[in-house]
């Protein structure tokens, strides 16, 4: 699985847009980019997945440039409840089993 690098922590304020960038320089052709969110004392929650360009759902947007060596998770107008750890995972999940490897993630703190 491609190794990922993301900031250890970020701070934001309510109502702001938050962008968390993940670097994955050795991403392979068949790899997809997946993001999870984990609140304290809970298991991670699947947020979004993408391969290229832009993906949007009701929770977040995922921006992937043409070279796919990085990706940005965008959270619009964050609230205090968005305080969590965000994990970026990259891997080929197109066929057969491929395990998720959760790194340290990015600890986002949203302040009033």
């Amino acid at each position: 699985l491609a190794k990922t690098t993301q900031p250890i922590s970020m701070d934001s304020y309510e109502g702001q847009e938050v962008n968390i960038t993940c670097s994955h320089n050795n991403i392979a052709t068949n790899d997809y980019i997946t993001w999870y969110q984990q609140f304290p004392s809970q298991g991670p929650r699947f947020i979004i997945q993408g391969y290229k360009t832009k993906v949007t759902n009701e929770v977040a947007s995922l921006f992937i440039p043409a070279d796919r060596k990085s990706s940005t998770l965008s959270l619009p107008r964050v609230s205090l409840s968005d305080t969590a750890v965000y994990y970026c995972l990259v891997g080929d999940f197109s066929g057969g089993y491929n395990k998720l490897i959760f790194g340290a993630g990015t600890r986002l703190a949203v302040h009033p």
């Binding site: 929650r45 997945q49 999940f93």
Partner: protein
């Protein structure tokens, strides 16, 4: 959440005793997983299942065994618990490997 429960939610046991954790799903998902989460190590995969009676090891499987005799249940057994197995254990389910839904977790303390 996602029709997945874990039992027990909390357990304290003594070193050397066997422990079984249960994961139950109502979603009929093919894949089921057991992870442990420890400070400084993040989430690590213990075992996973890709179907009834089909299981395989993850990255930290030593000291653990699993069984899946029905689609809805995935059991994790610590044959002889050790203090190093004190952790929070998460079960996850999913229709595909990249999309996993996690249970509420089981906090296990081995004294």
């Amino acid at each position: 959440d996602a029709g997945i429960t874990q039992s027990p939610r909390h357990k304290v046991t003594e070193t050397g005793t066997p422990v079984t954790l249960r994961c139950h799903q109502t979603e009929n998902h093919r894949y089921m997983y057991w992870y442990r989460q420890d400070p400084g190590h993040g989430l690590r995969l213990i075992h996973y299942s890709y179907g009834v009676k089909d299981t395989d090891k993850g990255e930290v499987s030593d000291g653990y065994s699993v069984s899946r005799s029905k689609t809805e249940d995935f059991l994790l057994t610590l044959e002889s618990a050790t203090s190093s197995q004190t952790s929070v254990y998460f079960c996850a389910i999913g229709p595909v490997t990249y999309e996993q839904y996690f249970g509420p977790g089981t906090r296990l303390t081995v004294t």
